[in-house]
Amino acid sequence: MAGVKRSLAVDLGGIVLTTPVMIAAGCAGTGKELTGLVELRKVGAIVSRTITLDPERGSPTPRIAESASGVVWSTGLQNPGIDAFVGEELPRLARSGSHVVVSIAGGTLEEYVRLTGALQGRPEVSAIEVHLSGPDLELQRPMLGAHVDRAAEVAGAVARMSMVPVFAKLPLHASDLPEIAGAVVRAGATGLTIGGSPPALDVQPERLRPGLGGVTGWLSGPALLPMTLRAVFDVSRTVPETPVIAVGGIRTGEDAVAAFLAGAWAVQVGTATLIDPAAPVSIAQGIVRYLKAKGLATPADVRSRLRVPASFGAASDAEEDRR
């Protein structure tokens, strides 16, 4: 189709990415490692490893085990703490020429507030991603983001303090995910990242032992894609005006397009970057090829365009009514 001006640019509620493909938290190193392996200018944004208030040494080793089409891992959020991060790693990440989204995690509301405070006024920060899959130390719950009010309280507090867009990263496996998403958006979050890795366990029968030093871990990799698509689909129907970033199992341009069709505005690439550091760029090229073949101009042209029977939404509404 002649005359179509093709562009991959996407506006995620105030942060404009040149491509809708980002590197997921914990997969972009510390700003040194990817140089020479991928042109970071061509990556929509880099999400930093998740940063906590104090330095975190992380889990015992081994920290990774392969599973069918996936990896089971647990790094225990190893990171140098917010002060060292802001001093050393953040400027280095920003020199890549890509947007830097800083991922933050706390065990209490106060920790999230202090983390956001430490990032205030830092010109290198394009956005904040709020990691909500960790334990809630204040309320003694295993997963902070699994509770509607608590997720909204924390995401809202960060959003009120932040001068840059705030994305709440919700656990993929939370029940009531659309309800949590709606509450988090009402509390002020700019957008949502869907979602945090589900829990997993690797077992080595021969040795009668778990594969990871920290025993339990989390699942990543292509095995997750259908779960990600379902969660993005459900969430984006609840908050259709809110930017949703899909993460989990995206490996090819086709996978990214599938996420757009399900309702995503952008995607993050994690495990695929570990295997092929140039994956975020080749995924963007794959998206362009798809758009070209379909005669479309931008990823927004396919967003939420999954063709489902008209009766699909109606049936669930009817069910809703019966309750």
Binding site: T61, P62, D136, G196
Partner: protein, 290 residues
């Protein structure tokens, strides 16, 4: 560090191992002993993480100039796939990665201690040390005969060599630790290099500490990416100022470490076991998904 598609020049079986030689001039030019390669796995399989191998040989001159050799120990689906690839097929390789062994400036008597697959990087080191007019002696160990890596090559590269196998099928019966003190004594060891599984490295570290022999060891910890991104292959290493320790990535901060600074007990005591869930449920602890 370069990423390229490399043609396989040849493959050969070496006892229990398999060696692959690649045409990769950019990597061969840069690679030093101790460094490693990250090999991409084929598309469409259920295993996908890169596999990592120490550089066994990087030829810069002569008829083999521009070639690179590494050695595969078949341990799982990825390594088994690598045993099946043929000459003239291509592999996608990133390398050289990680830190290299440093060569001694003042000292001359070097003892190289290898167990199993570890010998592949130490033979490369032996060549480089010989080219710098150092004396090289070796201790090479393995469980059994076909896991002793290239014993004839070992003899050729060293002034003296002591070969030990767990079952006595080649050389003396025992482990490298059984012959190490005697070899160090007999050869007047001034510097020690080792590549072996971590429990053996821990014992070698203890020996070097006791005898005050400066040493460098190449560790083996399970890696995700090998590129410094995923932070899974960490080793606890004491800080220089004595203020504690850090989890350093064995792919970018290692694999070669000073064994005196590795906290071996901490590292190796972390062997996981399955614990039953208590009836009152699991306590909420700081265990981050991240």
């Amino acid at each position: 560090m370069t990423r390229l598609r490399a043609e396989i020049l040849s493959t050969r079986k070496l006892g229990a191992y398999h060696s692959l030689t690649l045409v990769a001039p950019e990597i061969a030019e840069e690679a030093r002993p101790g460094q490693f390669l990250a090999i991409k796995m084929p598309e469409g399989r259920e295993f996908s993480l890169r596999r990592h191998f120490a550089v066994h040989q990087a030829s810069r001159r002569g008829g083999w100039a521009g070639t690179l050799e590494f050695v595969v120990d078949p341990l799982g689906p990825g390594t088994e796939w690598l045993m099946s690839v043929k000459a003239h097929e291509f592999l996608e390789v990133i390398g050289p990665l990680g830190t290299a062994f440093a060569y001694p400036k003042r000292h001359t008597n070097c003892l190289l201690v290898a167990e199993g697959h570890g010998a592949s990087s130490l033979y490369f080191l032996a060549q480089e040390l010989l080219a710098r007019h150092k004396r090289v002696d070796m201790v090479v160990g393995a469980e059994t005969l076909d896991r002793v890596f290239k014993p004839i090559e070992g003899k050729r590269l060293s002034q003296t060599i002591s070969i030990v196998t767990g079952d006595g099928t080649l050389g003396e019966r025992g482990s490298v630790m059984d012959v190490l003190p005697e070899m160090a004594e007999a050869t007047g060891t001034e510097v020690l290099y080792a590549a072996a599984p971590s429990p053996t490295l821990a014992r070698i570290a203890g020996f070097c500490k006791e005898r005050a022999i400066p040493a460098q060891v190449a560790v083996e910890e399970r890696m995700g990416c090998g590129l410094g991104l995923c932070q899974t292959c960490v080793v606890p290493v004491a800080r220089k100022d004595g203020s504690g320790y850090d989890h350093l990535r064995s792919c970018v901060d290692g694999p070669v470490f000073n064994p005196a600074r590795v906290l071996w007990d901490r590292w190796l005591s972390e062997e996981p076991t399955m614990l039953p869930t208590p009836p009152e449920g699991l306590p909420v602890v700081r265990s981050w998904p991240g």
